[in-house]
Symmetry: D2
């Protein structure tokens, strides 16, 4: 998962991008970057780590200009982080260009090989760079046309911003996997992955960028285009928005695909309480993402809510792990149990999702060590049985505990006294939208992939 932010036509473009990225920081902590144009010249600063560590006043001041795009990158495996940080920046025959991409293209390896056969040179190992090469070979005469030309050739997930000397392009793939919203601030046009970025800087939300929409922003205003063929949505779907954004990624104060994330989570907690009731003494969330779901569970079950786990604010990326000769602290560095409200109690623990099971197992061990009599784990998402190919960095299927273990086996593995997941239907209902089943992708729960991730890209001609 990643986050993007863009602003066109504001004298404080870099500073506002810095603030916007800060409010999207929960979407990635590996690297951050900002690119701005001054006249025809692009300046990009990319840094490892979170925005507030990577950028200082001097860096922001150096990013002059009235248009900017920014990106924050999720932590992934692999070493040469900064090489893959975004915005990607290049100089091609149409001048300087910067790109910030949230999502994941399908068939990237094939595309890369084809372009390399034609002499293309890559500076990063990201799929995003494929789009730049397609643009460099496009015969389109404007940035807008080159972007549309390139995007027409690929499949997969993209909520993406392009910034050139002539304007900015915002685009969302026809399936609409990842979010992207458009707003306005002091006459400037603003884009962001989530509405919480608008709230922080005081921008007004105009609307979501629609699935399949391309928005072309220049000094003359904005233009909305729907240049792509309607994709063959399976199973009566009109689009394939990621339900996991509601479950886990988005900040609770964001509106996601038109719905309040906080309220969706509270409702999912209520439904979860109905689907998997238990006679507990206290309901505690795994903070922070499990809080709203736990509140909903508590309300519907009438079991008191408590903050039985405290999250430390001071354990960051640079924390020194204790040496081997002293005991393993594991998850304790980030979470601490409040033993006084756990001791001797039957505790209902509410978490947003259960993927590998290893973290849940440590949390349950910690709660039990604090004296809990019984531990009932309730999960605000169905079992994750399939990998995501549309922009979430889920593990391989083998690592997904639910792909090979039953609920009972999983409960034994994490050592809880009972385990209950919300159903797929319950989760979709919690969005409070009757069209939710036709609008959300739930492939990670049911394997019903909107686009076949294994299908090879068609052998279309690449312009030369």
């Amino acid at each position: 998962m990643c986050g993007v932010f863009g602003i066109y036509g504001h004298s404080e473009a870099a500073n506002l991008t810095y603030l916007g990225l800060s409010s999207l920081q929960h979407r990635g902590q590996e690297a951050s970057g900002i690119g701005t144009f001054r006249g025809d010249t692009l300046k990009v600063v990319r840094r490892q780590g979170i925005v507030s560590e990577g950028f200082n006043r001097e860096a922001i001041d150096a990013l002059a200009g009235d248009r900017a795009i920014g990106h924050i990158r999720y932590s992934t495996s692999g070493g040469s982080f900064l090489r893959n940080a975004q915005p990607l920046s290049v100089n091609y025959r149409h001048g300087d260009l910067a790109v910030a991409h949230n999502g994941n293209l399908l068939g990237a390896d094939t595309w890369r090989a084809r372009l390399e056969e034609l002499g293309a040179i890559f500076q990063s190992t990201t799929d995003t760079e494929i789009l730049i090469h397609l643009m460099a070979r496009s015969h389109g005469t404007t940035l807008r046309d080159r972007v549309i030309d390139a995007l027409s050739r690929v499949r997969g997930a993209y909520s993406i911003l392009f910034l050139g000397a002539s304007g900015m392009v915002a685009a969302r793939d026809p399936w609409g996997y990842r979010p992207l919203v458009m707003g306005e601030l002091d006459g400037a046009t603003v884009f962001a992955s989530e509405t919480c970025a608008f709230s922080l800087i005081g921008a007004r939300l105009i609307r979501a960028v629609e699935p399949g929409e391309v928005i072309w922003v220049t000094d003359r205003g904005t233009e909305s285009i729907f240049p792509f063929e309607t994709p063959p949505h399976s199973a009566g779907r009109s689009c394939s928005q990621c339900i996991f954004e509601h479950v886990y990624f988005a900040r609770p104060d964001s509106h996601m695909f038109g719905h309040s994330v906080y309220e969706t989570r509270v409702r999912s907690g209520r439904i979860l309480a109905k689907e998997h009731p238990v006679a507990g003494d206290i309901v505690i969330p795994v903070p922070d993402s499990g809080i709203a779901t736990a509140i909903g569970y508590s309300e519907a079950s009438n079991i008191p809510f408590g903050m039985g786990l405290i999250r430390s604010h001071y354990v960051g990326r640079t924390f020194i792990e204790p040496s081997q000769s002293i005991r393993s602290f594991g998850v304790k560095l980030k979470l601490s149990p409040v033993a006084d409200i756990l001791r001797g109690r039957s505790v209902v623990v509410v978490d947003d999702s259960l993927v590998r099971g290893t973290t849940s197992r440590k949390i349950i061990e910690m709660i039990r060590a604090a004296g809990a009599r019984e531990i009932h784990l309730r999960i605000g998402a169905p079992p994750v049985t399939h990998s995501c190919f549309y922009g979430i960095d889920t593990p391989t299927r083998e690592e997904l505990i639910a792909s090979s273990k039953s609920v009972e086996e999983t409960a034994r593995f994490v050592r809880c006294d009972s385990l209950g997941y919300i159903s797929r239907e319950g989760l979709l209902k919690s969005v409070n939208d009757p069209d939710a089943p036709a609008r959300f992708c739930t492939a990670c729960f049911d394997g019903n992939y909107p686009e076949d991730p294994a299908e090879e890209p068609p052998r279309v001609a690449i312009p030369e």
Copy 2:
């Protein structure tokens, strides 16, 4: 407010001190330091900022030795931070010495002037250094005796650790203003400001260091001494522990003065709901310190609890403030409202305390801008009318809004629809200890100072 940690007799002394200080980080973020002995030689590393930023693996590895003390310092005004960071370290006629102090001595200026008349030279502007000068002039033959000699001459608040080549001394002033607990880990003796440090490293809590107790730790074991005259406790008090530790400073998973901080706060919320009921639609805390109180208020009032304010984890000390030309963000960088659960509602906002009123005013403005219909502010502490002289960095009396404004005037200032503080009696009751009134200092609420902060130190002879 500050935090101290010490460990005697563990091969991983510096590493465990690093972990212990990390768990006390909420007590101060300005500076941190660790001192260790290897043979007769003290090594001290002090850094600005939080522990995880200031110390890396190399710094910890350089701090060899099996005994260590550490300190974290609260942000105060004034520029030359590092000079005043602790542990203070000196070389005097008895060798190297390190000191870590939580608290505040009374009459420090007078003491300093007297010692300077005798030729003393100060390296810092801290009151703590006075103790080292008194020790340097003491005729005591052991570190223990020199510490007792020095502490006997001063008044005020100290929970303090001394580390020399011959042993470690832990001491708490006779009034017991600030906390200090003793524990055990793998045979080593451990001290910390709060029990949460023990929970993290897996140490066993033995007991609190008693008011007026001095504990002398050497290779031969620990010795407990009560060398000071019983102070003339006013108003039937047996000691004067700081009630504000429960209200605000301590981490909710700590036991403070023998009582669960979390549970005290929940109880205070229940009492607050009784003392200041209101017909609200939702109870929201100001995170993080107001959460447990809000849970208690919600329980007792049957008004649903909600996380209406989201706290950002990524806004640290190094955050770049937006430039003046864009709007002031104020408290928004750290807290974001969840508008969906506030809009059109009557909101009960629960905060731990109200000191100057300026932050509350911004929070209320933000909640109102998110659409709240009514805002009722409830405070888990009585009005703060008097400054603290025992180790909390409260503002001067003039800056304390409750020292000059009535509750109604304060409500107008912060622009809430109603304002209710818990009563002094209610707060003491929430500790759930019948002796609480005789054991806690509430001077900041009632001006009843255990020791007169203006009284000059007696003109006793200083050894030469």
Copy 3:
């Protein structure tokens, strides 16, 4: 001017490259970089500033592998330094590739435009990247063939190293503008811009890479190829080696194009004394590059040699310039006069070259302020009247004082009592090689350019 170093087949490849680059540091201080292969994977570290500031033990250790190339870059105008630092590194269809280049290609802008028309994307603004794009489009099946294919298409100056997973290529353009030598260390093949790099690491000099030679180094050994057509050398030249390497760039302990730099300079001083005698009291060099020439002048003239200017070792790139309100220090920060041997004397000042005249003017002002009675400036190079297009960062013609001012006018400008330049013939004679006139480029003194810098590259087909 830049410097390159490469080593193939040594377990300490990165460390030796670090040492080799250090000994070439006089060829550039702007940036440095090292690239190594481990298996098929290239790792490159590039840093601003000099090698010893940019690389620490950790950086060297991270550069594992038994083959490495390195580059040091001369300070040029323009801001985004690191982007243009070398080795350049890319991933193209034949895997990872690193390139380190000393020299300057002709017609680079035209080439860049042509390639961009074909969709090429550039990450730097260097001419070197053109070669990579030509290689990416080459149908050559080995790295060797792709390098030859690319180099066959360009003109200009290159002493260049390519490192891929399959081997290393070293090449020198057919005119042989810039130096490149080959050596051997512990069985490994080594390349460097100057022999002083071999002296430091204890490598044995094998020979210079010849003009027009390509050397292909793999695990099976080295192969020498002369793939390029013999260029139409003008005026009976067999090659066009840069005479300025002897005058200024090379370290005096290097052998350059087969001749001792130190001895060439001493001889030039002797010839200069013959061509421009003067009745002075003392001969002083402008250190460090004027020392050997001044020694030769002193010998031939029998005027005593003295170190009348002291060079500071401690004024580096990071020196803070004095604020405007205190007097301008100019060249005084780097050079200090020894007034005691200048006062009242007629001083012969020997410098390696006179380009703009501004520095000479400051030096002469400083010597005169120290009390010199007369100042006679002698220059170890002819007047520089034309810009270099083959890799030296000379100013534009307008800035070259000798392009518009006579010797007398120049003397008045720099305020010396007399001024004498060595003649072009004298300089060529000082190399002590009867073929020198046919082997050296002296275009900066006579405008006789080996290749026309303004000629457009031929419109040959670029493979696709």
Copy 4:
């Protein structure tokens, strides 16, 4: 060896101190520091490493005020460098005070012990801090009187600057071991260890501070005082200035004790040629300190001078040593031989001094490996047989090769073909002052110590 600089009454005090320290950088590279007063408040910045690395524009700007002292510290053994960096700064009963000291007090351990018995606490392990404690206990009513009181009680070497809110004191011990000069710039009074600092900033040399003189600088002007008893100078001496300043420490463009350092060295080279003639082919210096001596040797012997060793400008403190598996580079990183002028020749190598012999041995090995036929080592100082107790960090007697080995044995150890030291009388004669024997300390050559380093300080009363 260290360096000091002070300026009183200039609006650019810190900036000029920065420049002055830079020109004294050859006197020490371990640490540097600057202290300034603004009103009554002292601000001190101390940094490890050389001035240009430790101080940036921001640091200088933070040091506001019109008076400043600075210090640069020589590299010594021991770890906690910054603790001992100067200016030392304290707050004592007369306010803030900063001290910068070049020299070494005798009996420092005894003084320290006595003061500690009286309760003194030390922040550093330097002898300088003793003076501050004596000042803190002085009954003197002005800074001037307290300085004189403190200095009257100690013996040993000090050229020292004190800066307080009321004025600046410059003092030199009655023996005058270490240099200190006074100058004037724009009406401000300036002090420095060497005149080269004045040359750089354009200050006018007024005169040397005399042995035993104290100069008191305030807004009302300067006052010269000679408060100390004339010391019992041994052997008809009038003072005991360090001859090694001429031989090695001072910069050749400085005047030291009234004489040109450069000229003294040239004369010593001439005398050395007379005392130890040899039929060599070339005379080469060990740069930089041996250059002037070698020039004198060349002149007197009529053997040509050559720069046979090149000194690298780029090998600083942070250089990574090659790993063990590649050959030891030793002195080669800093010095490179110019083989072309050494090969087959009989080489006369001139160095300033020979202390341990280990470096000379490496240099000779390097010259021999470069092909020299014979190597004759000539030293511009007599054999160093005794340690210095007056401020030079010489090794213990055991490490001084001349304390246990004859000249022939030393020649065998360093593996030269012949070895000749200048005589003590020859060296004194080279100063060109008939009174030199009565004015210079030559204890390191003859053991004739001006003050007995082992004598205990007299048991005078310390005021309390």
